[in-house]
Symmetry: C2
Subunit: 553 residues, 2 copies
Amino acid sequence: MSLTNSTPCCSENDQHHNQNVVVQPLLTDLYQITMAYSYWLSGKQNDVAGFDLYFRKNPFQGEFTIFAGLEECVKYLKKFHFSDSDIEYLRTVLPKHTHPGFFDYLKEMNVNSVTMWAIDEGTVVFPKVPLIMVEGPLPIVQLLETCFLNLVNYASLVATNAVRFRLAAGPDMTLFEFGLRRAQGPDGGMSASRYCYMGGFDGTSNVLAGKLYDIPVQGTHAHAFVNSFINFESLKYRQLKKKDSDEMVDFLELCLKWQDTLSNEFGFLKDQVSEGELAAFCSYAISFPDAFLALIDTYDVVKSGLPNFCAVALALHEIGYIPKGVRLDSGDLAYLSHTSRKMFQVVAEKFNIPMFAKLTIVASNDINEDTIHSLNQQTHQINCYGIGTHLVTCQKQPALGCVFKLVEINGIPRIKLSEEPEKISIPGKKCAYRLFGADDIALVDVLMRDNENPPKAEERVFCRHPFQETKRAYVMPTRVEPLYKVYWKNGKVQQNLPTLREMREKTISSLCHIRQDHKRALQPSPYKVAVSAKLYTFMHNLWLDNAPVGELS
Amino acid sequence: MSLTNSTPCCSENDQHHNQNVVVQPLLTDLYQITMAYSYWLSGKQNDVAGFDLYFRKNPFQGEFTIFAGLEECVKYLKKFHFSDSDIEYLRTVLPKHTHPGFFDYLKEMNVNSVTMWAIDEGTVVFPKVPLIMVEGPLPIVQLLETCFLNLVNYASLVATNAVRFRLAAGPDMTLFEFGLRRAQGPDGGMSASRYCYMGGFDGTSNVLAGKLYDIPVQGTHAHAFVNSFINFESLKYRQLKKKDSDEMVDFLELCLKWQDTLSNEFGFLKDQVSEGELAAFCSYAISFPDAFLALIDTYDVVKSGLPNFCAVALALHEIGYIPKGVRLDSGDLAYLSHTSRKMFQVVAEKFNIPMFAKLTIVASNDINEDTIHSLNQQTHQINCYGIGTHLVTCQKQPALGCVFKLVEINGIPRIKLSEEPEKISIPGKKCAYRLFGADDIALVDVLMRDNENPPKAEERVFCRHPFQETKRAYVMPTRVEPLYKVYWKNGKVQQNLPTLREMREKTISSLCHIRQDHKRALQPSPYKVAVSAKLYTFMHNLWLDNAPVGELS
């Protein structure tokens, strides 16, 4: 088993994150192997190549992206090694005349001579600015492509999606990720939970993600729970201890007393209330008297769910517990949340229980970013969203198009041409800086050649649009932040990797420095990514040298 | 580590499929655990519950779905066990007053008393007909929900998507899945490769999927490969052995000779041809002389890629090798495929090499189902598609909405009501049969109560629409196929699980029995799913008993 690939020095924490044993060198496209063979056979195995990993367009018609997945890339490097069984398999895949020396080469292959620079995970990032830059022997760096893209693409996409949900819902809304059952398999679910938390969610329903990633977990009960209680006979255990006392009460009896009271006060019809639902709520309250949150739409929210919830919540309150609230999973969420809140307020006033007016209302029915904007417009009384399908599948755009492009070989810059300027790669080894202006708000990211002097605070920087020659501007930054750090060199991780919580804080703080108009959902304005004058000239000369000259005919 | 959870009796093959160690009882929504506690505390832990796993709507605006993921569910059952560290974690999540007996209950929990019936994996399936039916102790069966849904939803979705691509492309097209870099993480990529193959693809670029699932793998080279060759200096090794001989030739020289010939014959300009590209093609041909397939759009397909390819292919041919063809990864695929084919035909005729006219043309640029239909309309000369993003992310609909509904408890049928009839569950324990008519084409799936006599061939069966009372029909089947088999009982797998290749054959043969109009892309007609008269009456009586009576006011 490939677990033997993991480095023995892994900490307990590492092992948790590395549960997915399929992250290994063979998790790649076959063409990486065939290219490696061709490089090796052509005597190019020690060519020094530089590759940039970047994307060309922000997802979701937005103007920002959150970089995620770096830690997974670092861990992939840490255990990069072709096992004997990998080599045996490759012998069966490659042609039989393949030079046997190539398999020895693969067997000995390691990433000690690879250097990786990257932007910190959790940083807000923009098109064209490399997220990761890798330098090292051509066949080895090329082999990293597929896995790096796989690890970065979905992680960044779903983290960005989570941030968009957070921005739509506002800072006071509680957000839980409920997407495990709709994710692309088990690991898709684990990644979704991890990166949604990083993107500002408050937690997940995914228990394993809670255990392995130390994310808060949340959950109450399903419709099936309610449906499994047919009547009061289904409730075999009915006792509940008073809070802070040893006295037991017949809790069902107490609930029925409150049901009578509510029926008399508010005139709801007891024959319209589901007995099974009340039994289920009783059972749940007895199990979780300090955390009673009930799903109230199994039968009819207004005629059954709300009266039953209030009866049980008032019973709990009578014996010293504080109920939590309700969850709505169908119907008109704006209307039902207002109806529920109104009922809670009336009960609060009638029985002089102020906390009742502030009970939590959770909504969780097929919510997407647009639903949240629409609910905001309609006004609602929801305190918490549980979000699944649209969040984890990134329905609005299910893939981020990161690419991994060769930018330099043996010190010679390489450019990938295209008829669409946005698809042209920016050649050579580079640095990048984020320039901040007044109030520490980011103004522009500027890419420079790696031998240029970095920009300085309070000194004018000349910034050019990478492709449009007339678009130029002087920028006077109040602060300059270099975007890259060395993350891997000489076979070792070069930075302390942050915890998931630290990455979450990084995401939140990084977003604080980005202007609101780049972050808004409707027609956001693009953030500027510029190149230095030197890089502009360097790149355009190379472009001219390489672009074919047309024929007029 | 949770690997200790896997049963020691796993075969080598099992271990391969079970690489993903996150498939374990904790991979679930927290509410399954909180419900389990409440069931346990309410004395319902031995209630016998029946749950159905089904979907309500076919994906992709289609009228069929392929059932996949069953084997993963079976394997999940095989290793279902809460580890000590799981229990320790749950102690920290559940309230501190949680009864300690519950943790002992979880510790001892197993699925020996669970029975699972299912349709064979790879079968064409339709809305409302359960894919899986589970019976057993309420808390245990409830706990299976999230993982079952996770394992079935994406697997079935992507298998169905693959079938749709196959139907669009036709049986003669070669189809390769190239989606690893865009999948939802590593495991998403592995699942995509597995289930696309099952859905009728010919293979994948994903090497690990090739190794673990025995799927044919395919790959050649990338743009970066071409770009890494600057000129002929980059090509350090230029020798190639003649086929079936020990004589070495200077292969670059031979290619340059053919370049001259082609330039003279067809008048292309040698200064418009990329030298680096020719060097790259030479290198690749030297490495894979029997499998030379070149990516020809790095610079300019017509001015550089095609002439370079032809020069190298003709050189290979001269010394006894048979070149394979080209790959197009950008531009107008219909036009470029025609241009390429035309060139191959002209070369074939000019030099009297008939095989040259039949060279393979692979296309691989952001292809989706609609692109294939559009290319079919335009006519094209493509022989093979490499498909990534749209296939694996299922862009058209990134989630299948399988649900897991309680249908019976302690022998009492349960119905989940909704104002939308299609959301109403079909209660009680059931059987299902597929009735076939002339030419062995499926006519209808009929659900029956489990105590009914099964339909018989050549005997009239009365079929009713589950919700619309006037829609009824007599069906005279020529053949009747029971849809369910027991897959899990008494703690053991009850069927020989088919290999992936067998499931792939099952998918293909199952589709053969489905009428064309259900499978077409444009306005397909719905396949009929019916209930027996007994089930209709049973279900509607229960519906009436449970639905609230409105108030006219």
